[in-house]
């Protein structure tokens, strides 16, 4: 029966090619606009570390006070004094500080020009905390942090450039005039959004080239290559002064694996800030924050407003296309009132009329879905025109998007057809027969 209705549907659609084309195009464009913008939204709003996002927290301490902070919120990073205090207190299972550093790799091998390398100064806990995958070797230990060792973890990409991709653990690399021993090579790793560094980035950046010990970077007085934000009048004339200033430039992360541990850590932060107030360093009550990964992504508004707005507008567009389809289906179905009357008079139940017309609508939906799929593919390919490159390249057409496109098209069209089909099923057979 279903196959027969499907055939009837196809025949009916062929009868008014213009009306059919209009409906198919409306569904196709509507679903394609929604899916293209959704593919971008999905890429930027995902959870970058799903299995641990509720155990990783970034603490913030207000070192600027109510007069200089922004709308009562603590600054989005820590100054050196607070960062080191949190690190020394060691109140969490694992913890790391981090900031961006840029170095140059000296010429050698086949290269006659130096190379730029971007990375992070971190503590050894960084690697297990953020589940960094390793191709060779591993991260370094807390002892290495304390020993302020000249060690480095490099990315597979940099390893390819410097060592041709072989196991380089134990080899030496010269960054900006200083030697480092390679202890690990990561697999390609670039969580998107880059949740652990939303102070320096908007969340989307090319993968890092290396990770070096924070303690070593301090010994070399390496200035952050990322953000730096200060308040009041600046007076520092050298590295030591700078470290004591209220400038924030360090991000801290702690791993807390139970609600009790989170509560304990929150309490610790509060009492740390209270101690600073007592000691006279802060002239204000404790103002601290402890956010997990998703809260932090949300607070830093990692999803660009453009992505949200375009998704909303595209969905609105789709709704209008559906309203349009309801109207056209209504016209199309009721034009066949006579035909329906005859069928009803010959014994067809309302249910059968229903099924027939919903099947016809589903056929339109499927055709719209196929057109929508083609347009979505074109849209995703051309999304570089609409979004900045680092975000555009995240959008891609995969099996789930293909399935979703077809499903949404068919389901939405069938939903839109409910009212027109109901009207068709309620055609009075007597009326139609009489008037003829």
């Amino acid at each position: 029966m279903f196959a027969y209705y499907f055939q009837l549907g196809l025949r009916s659609l062929r009868r008014n090619p213009a009306l059919t084309a209009l409906m198919v195009m409306a569904i196709g464009f509507g679903v394609a606009a929604s899916m293209t913008t959704y593919s971008v939204f999905r890429a930027v709003s995902g959870n970058p570390i799903p299995d641990k996002s509720e155990q990783l927290f970034t603490p913030l301490v207000d070192n600027w006070g109510p007069q200089q902070n922004y709308k009562g919120e603590p600054p989005d990073a820590l100054d050196y004094v607070d960062a080191m205090a949190l690190m020394r207190a060691h109140e969490a299972k694992r913890q790391t500080l981090l900031y961006q550093v840029q170095m140059s790799v000296m010429p050698g091998g086949g290269r006659d020009l130096p190379l730029s390398a971007n990375g992070y100064a971190v503590y050894g806990d960084f690697f297990p905390m953020f589940e960094v995958p390793f191709q060779y070797g591993s991260g370094w230990s807390t002892q290495d942090d304390d020993a302020r060792s000249a060690e480095v973890v490099i990315s597979s990409q940099l390893n390819q450039k410097l060592f041709g991709g072989v196991d380089s653990v134990g080899r030496t690399v010269n960054f900006s005039g200083h030697d480092y021993r390679v202890v690990g090579v990561t697999r390609p790793w670039n969580p998107k959004p880059r949740f652990f560094d939303l102070f320096n980035t908007s969340g989307f950046k090319d993968a890092s080239d290396f990770y070096m010990p924070f303690t070593r970077a301090q010994d070399l007085e390496m200035r952050s290559n990322g953000g730096n934000s200060c308040r009041g009048s600046l007076t520092f004339t050298g590295w030591e002064d700078y470290l004591q200033s209220n400038c924030v430039w360090i991000t801290a992360w702690v791993e807390l694996d139970s609600a009790a541990a989170v509560a304990r850590y929150r309490h610790f932060l509060e009492s740390y800030a209270a101690d600073q107030q007592k000691a006279g360093r802060f002239a204000w009550a404790p103002n601290v924050r402890l956010r997990d990964v998703m809260q932090w992504l949300d607070f830093r508004q990692v999803v660009p407003p453009e992505s949200r707005i375009s998704l909303m507008v595209a969905l609105g567009f789709f709704v209008i296309c559906l309203v349009n389809t309801i109207g056209l289906l209504l016209a199309k179905f009721l034009r066949r009132a006579g035909e329906i009357g005859v069928r009803r008079a010959l014994g067809a139940s309302r249910r059968e009329i229903y099924t027939q017309y919903l099947t016809e609508a589903a056929t339109v939906g499927l055709a719209g879905g196929v057109l929508g799929l083609l347009l979505t593919a074109a849209g995703v390919a051309g999304v570089g025109v609409l979004f900045p490159p680092q975000i555009a390249k995240l959008a891609h057409l995969d099996a789930s998007l293909v399935g979703l496109t077809l499903l949404v098209a068919v389901v939405a069209t069938v939903l839109a057809a409910f009212y027109p089909a109901w009207r068709a099923a309620h055609v009075q057979p007597a009326w139609q027969l009489k008037s003829n």
Binding site: A33, S104, P114, L115, S116, R223, R231, S233, P305, R335
Partner: protein
């Protein structure tokens, strides 16, 4: 015409569903198109923001140092580099800088009128450069003077250097001294010592284009210092008219000839202002294009939908039309009937749509820090949709007007 309104209303009551669907579609289309047009307007306004720079001839070199040099060594290298750049036949002038307009974010300082004022008066973008920076960027000095070579200080990596003199943009001067008396006055930009305004330039865009930058639009200052930071430096170069391409080709060669211990990113280490603009306004341009496409397709689909439904109605009412024609209605009357009917549905739609449009805009204002929509956009949207409806209904209405009175006599 007025006589026709009542029969139209009666007829519409018999087509409630269709009427409501068209009205709803017009309402939703108006809500989206108004806001989309408004977004396009705003984004295009961003795109056309003027920087104050001689954009046709200026390019920027991002230079990262590849050696572990002292401030003195870096300063010597910077001087040598600049000399080499300025001697190129295609180059008019070159200057060192900490950043450049439309860079996409950079250094800014709060500004206070006294050293111990806690709440800042405003915020200013900060550029550091030498006495060549004004000419290199092509800025127009409207009051005071340029820096003297002797005023140019040296700023090492971890130092705060607050020069005693400063050149400000007119926007900053007006913000700090609204009475126009800025020249010769001084202020504090997160410093313990004051900087005295010696010059005012007509326009100098900030590095960023964010909401924060918009709130402090055009407020910039230039301090005279060579930024000898170990991490790197920007060289701004102004080519002689028409020689931009040649200058961009020759400049890196000249720098490498000075020293190879530097990194000029092959991908975007050297960019002219066309590229700089393209990059910084990426998302604005994208939004404008997307909203444009959606508006156009939306209007087309709404028009097509009106054509479809009206055609259906005309088909349904052929007999009644025939009767009316037989009873003496002219073709013109029939045409008028359908046009008026559409106009009434359209009016209902745009009234609801206008409310919706304002609602959507208010929601976006709170959610995305957008501006309030102006009434002009609403007016344009209403006019466009009413005209669109009349245009769309014209073909089916003409077909209706051609229905022959004979149809009334046919039984089928």
């Amino acid at each position: 015409m007025s006589i026709q309104i009542k029969p139209i209303l009666v007829a519409l009551r018999r087509h409630k569903a269709g009427t409501l669907l068209i009205a709803l579609q017009i309402a939703l289309t108006l809500a989206i198109v108004c806001n989309a047009l408004f977004i396009i307007h705003q984004r295009l306004a961003n795109l056309s923001e003027r920087s104050g720079v001689d954009e046709a001839n200026v390019f920027v070199i991002q230079n990262q140092w590849a050696a572990d040099w002292t401030t003195q060594q870096i300063d010597a290298q910077v001087r040598a580099d600049l000399l080499a750049l300025r001697q190129l036949p295609s180059v008019r002038d070159a200057a060192p800088s900490t950043g450049y307009p439309l860079q996409g974010g950079g250094w800014d300082n709060f500004v206070t009128m006294t050293p111990d004022q806690v709440k800042p008066t405003t915020d200013s973008a900060v550029y550091m450069g030498d006495e060549h920076l004004l000419d290199t960027l092509g800025l127009r000095l409207i009051a005071g003077r340029n820096f003297r070579p002797s005023e140019v200080l040296v700023m090492g990596t971890q130092q705060v250097v607050i020069p005693p003199v400063v050149i400000v943009s007119k926007a900053l001067a007006d913000r700090l001294f609204p009475d126009g008396s800025a020249l010769g006055k001084s202020f504090y930009a997160m410093s313990a010592t004051p900087s005295t305004i010696v010059g005012i330039v007509d326009r100098l865009h900030r590095q960023g284009v964010s909401q924060f930058d918009k709130a402090h639009a055009g407020q910039s200052l230039i301090w005279p210092a060579r930024p000898d930071d170990a991490r790197g430096i920007f060289y701004i170069v102004r080519a002689k008219p028409g020689q931009l391409t040649a200058a961009m080709r020759e400049a890196p060669k000249a720098l490498y000839a000075q020293s190879r211990m530097r990194i000029l990113d092959p991908k975007d280490g050297i960019r002219d202002y066309a590229q700089i603009r393209h990059r910084v306004f990426d998302s604005d341009r994208g939004m404008a294009i997307l909203m444009g496409i959606i508006s156009a397709v939306l209007l087309a689909i709404t028009a097509a939908g009106i054509v479809g439904l009206t055609s259906f109605w005309v088909g349904q009412r052929r007999k009644q039309i025939g009767v009316r024609r037989a009873l003496g209605a002219t073709r013109h009357d029939i045409l008028n009937y359908f046009l008026t009917e559409n106009l009434m549905i359209g009016l209902g739609g745009v009234i609801v749509g206008a409310v919706l449009a304002i609602g959507v805009n208010l929601w976006m204002v709170t959610r995305f820090e957008m501006d309030r929509i102006s009434v002009a956009y609403l007016g344009i949207g209403v006019a466009v949709l009413l005209l669109l409806g009349q245009g769309a209904v014209l073909a089916p209405a003409l077909r209706a007007s051609r229905v022959s009175p004979v149809e009334a006599t046919r039984s089928v």
